[in-house]
Symmetry: C2
Subunit: 133 residues, 2 copies
């Protein structure tokens, strides 16, 4: 089927998945990392909103379906090895993380190999209890 030519170009891993980086189009901030299978990528293109594959729940996950924190697709990129997708998105409410933060990458490494640790350095914008009722 010719409709799947672009889907076949993606090098899906042995579980039929591809890693996906979600980047905010306006700020270029990296907001989260997730996975997609063929259905998820197809639905993402159809809807114009990010649909991932939840490895823990083993089902499609329309990002924001519970929280309202939908990701509107601005651009989809594929890397040189065709095995990683970069999704440029507009993040509704500017909150991507389930902790109520802008980005999931809020823990910063501080120190050295011998005394290092990860410190939460970004603010919680919204109490998760009010996001997930």
């Amino acid at each position: 089927m010719s409709a799947s030519k672009w889907l076949n170009k993606v090098r899906w891993d042995e579980q039929g998945l591809v890693p996906v980086i979600a980047q905010e189009a306006s700020s270029n901030d990296v907001l989260m990392f997730a996975w997609m299978n063929r259905d998820a990528l197809t639905k993402t293109v159809e809807l114009g909103e990010a649909v991932y594959w939840s490895r823990s729940r083993k089902k499609l996950w329309h990002k924001g379906e519970e929280s309202g924190h939908i990701q509107k697709v601005v651009e989809i990129r594929l890397d040189c090895d065709e095995d990683v997708v970069l999704l440029k998105i507009e993040q509704v409410d500017s909150i991507a993380c389930h902790t109520g933060r802008h980005s999931c990458f809020f823990q910063k490494f501080e120190g050295s190999v011998s005394d290092g640790d990860w410190q939460a350095v970004d603010p919680v914008l919204k109490d998760p209890e009010t996001i997930y009722k």
Copy 2:
């Protein structure tokens, strides 16, 4: 050993790896995606330069060791689930991709589900033959 407390906080996968996103600190551009094991992350912190685990060559890969396109570490972040690392770097020569491009994510999706395709939209900055002699 207390020195490995921060390393133990990372949720390494069943192969002992963690996905890593390399982002240019100055532009916020996402340049590449790779993997690290404990040794790679330790060496990255020690050196202050990106050291990945090459899954194809099954060995540590000091990025730029052949090409000269070293990545100087500006900041290291960990996500909310502690299973993805975001590396903010300065990219030497502004070229991260083995094709001689700035970013590995140079293929853009154009079209719809039925007629879509990936198009190379970013320029080659340096001929790969002159990078890898």
